[in-house]
Homo-oligomer: 214 residues x 4
């Protein structure tokens, strides 16, 4: 069809509105986390303010973890969309799966805040399940963009390694999820290492690329 070929052939800015929409979702999800913190404040109005801070550190820890999780996801999303320059009818759906997990993240964060003291195992596992789903969604996004040639020609070789990092993270987060039910500190250590690796997605992919070439 020639008639509607034009709107979809504008070039590098094709994914612009998809990115603006995604940025909005990331920005809102990361900011909504504070509502959970404020809600915690209310039932304890009788308590002294200083005591409140000392006795309820779990929501603050959950807030920090939730914030870092969504920030890492945004950094990775931003990195992946540096290479994706075209879009098609399915990309918003694959990207929608990533966004679904991001909008969902405040729930495991709230679970962490409320159940860390009483049911730590399940609270961490709920967050771990979230990480597993995010890994699957990220891998799928990269695999889809690769297969459908939505990547700039020059970057295809490197993008293969970007995709690979999310492939590894699926296996890694699956193992970490299972470890949650066995020994929580080991799972937390695993998630900590996961954070560090994906905090710098470009460097991670570059290291993989260098390793393969040797």
């Amino acid at each position: 069809m020639k008639k509607n070929s034009k709107p979809n052939g504008v070039g590098p800015k094709e994914t612009a509105r998809l990115e603006v929409f995604s940025d909005g979702v990331f920005a809102i999800a990361i900011t909504l986390l504070v509502l959970e913190l404020i809600q915690f404040l209310h039932p304890h109005e009788g308590e002294s303010l200083l005591r409140f801070y000392l006795h309820h550190w779990e929501p603050f820890l959950a807030f920090l973890i939730g914030f870092l999780t969504i920030l890492v996801c945004w950094i990775n999303h931003h990195h992946v969309f540096l290479y994706i320059i075209k879009t098609d009818s399915y990309l918003p759906w694959v990207n929608g799966f990533v966004l679904f997990m991001i909008t969902f993240t405040p729930l495991p964060t709230a679970i962490l805040a409320e159940y860390l003291g009483t049911e730590g195992k399940f609270a961490v596992a709920a967050f771990g399940f979230n990480y597993l789903m995010i890994s699957i969604a990220s891998y799928w996004l990269c695999a889809y963009a690769m297969t459908r040639s939505l990547i700039e020609q020059d970057n295809r070789k490197f993008f293969r390694f970007v995709k690979l990092t999310y492939g590894y993270s699926i296996i890694y987060t699956l193992v970490a999820f299972l470890v949650c039910f066995v020994y929580i500190p080991a799972a937390i250590l695993m998630y900590f290492l996961l954070f560090i690796a994906f905090a710098f997605p470009k460097e991670f992919a570059e290291r993989l690329a260098r390793g393969r070439r040797r």
Copy 2:
């Protein structure tokens, strides 16, 4: 009037700020849905976390449906605005009707989450009424853009079919709304098919265009 003709004659980017504002509304509405999920968490603090998940699947289903609804609407809005390249004084109002229905969507989603088990018929009908209104709003947007020639000349022929899909969806969602009061599973099947058709608005319109030419 010549004086203010300039700001409105910038060309293809005329609808830019309208789209950014709309994207913001879509992004916020889709992310606010999780607040309903978190709110459900609170009154059941005494319950075990695993049991909570098993016994309260309705809010999760409602969250998924609400998310998919707004995502489908965003994809369709994005598709329609690929063709709308000009704006006038009324377009923000017609578009405002679409946005009104989007900001409203978290309410039927919350109704679905809370009343699915007890008053399923009305809960689904409330959502169905929402779909009917969204169809009317979308059709109106397309019809208005068409009449006022806000569409690029080359795309006018194809856009006629885009408009037609929303025309059909008005009749379809009206029937589905009435079916809600008769037999819920049939209504749900109808909404499922509606989702699939509008998940890919371009392909839907292309199929219609091909059908007509024969």
Copy 3:
């Protein structure tokens, strides 16, 4: 100082980030209104869904009014920023006053939803006070942009009339605010006419311009 003259001399896009930030505030304020609607849903869980809709129409009316208010403000903000092409150190503050009133708007909306039945006079007056403040903020924004020559040269003559519409609205909303305490229906009629006038800010200013020339 020459060193930092460059970042501020980029040209027509100087207000870009101010507009994106403002769009975000408008989009969030307009979407947050639904939270009030959902919150109303909760305490009445025992009630039948249909009855709930019939007996609690005030929050729905308040939602509609709040939505239209913020949409009208966005349309006017968008219209004013078509002419403002430069920025300076004070513009974000003058614009900040407008945004302050926008972020504040969900409060009078919530007051309207909860007190319309019991204390209608004060509920409408609270909203009316909001309109007065928005008028002052809008006029100040236009007057500031005019004085500091942030308007494109060609549009200065017409912009004078845009500014004038907000000048009139200050007097108008002040009178309407006082009428609230005397006879509510008259105040509501006045606000209705205000809505219609500012729904199309460009046409309103054009009519003023035509009237003056005669």
Copy 4:
């Protein structure tokens, strides 16, 4: 690595998506503040509306302070990013620290609203601690951008003074934080002066620059 050098070498727009994401976070945080105001409305439903306003001025003051705080931060963030034209793998993290403090700000605002009457000292100190952290984050952002040469060459000299203002604010907010525990009115005066200085970050930096040259 040459393969992925392209996406990162687009030029002046390199920080575009970082700014959009940041704008989103600022816009949401500033708009969420009203939810706290609305929440205050609910438990007092029995009270007269006028009395409610007269007796509960603290949440309104806290709303104003929270709004001004985030607006000042946005203005400063916007000013700093006029000079930052490049990005690297660490900048989103340094900027993330600023955003973390912004998303956190609604909490001290809520604390101020609820505890100003009963535990004023701690309520102000909680806000003061927030200011100290924001100062550190802002200084770090500038220092990082300076060291990594993410600043346009022509602006480097002036940006040194921008950075210096945040360096001073760290010491200033640290002193003000300590003053909170001694004499609240003095601390409030200090924060008031801080506001005025950073309301116009460009003028503040220019004054410093002029002072040094003499």
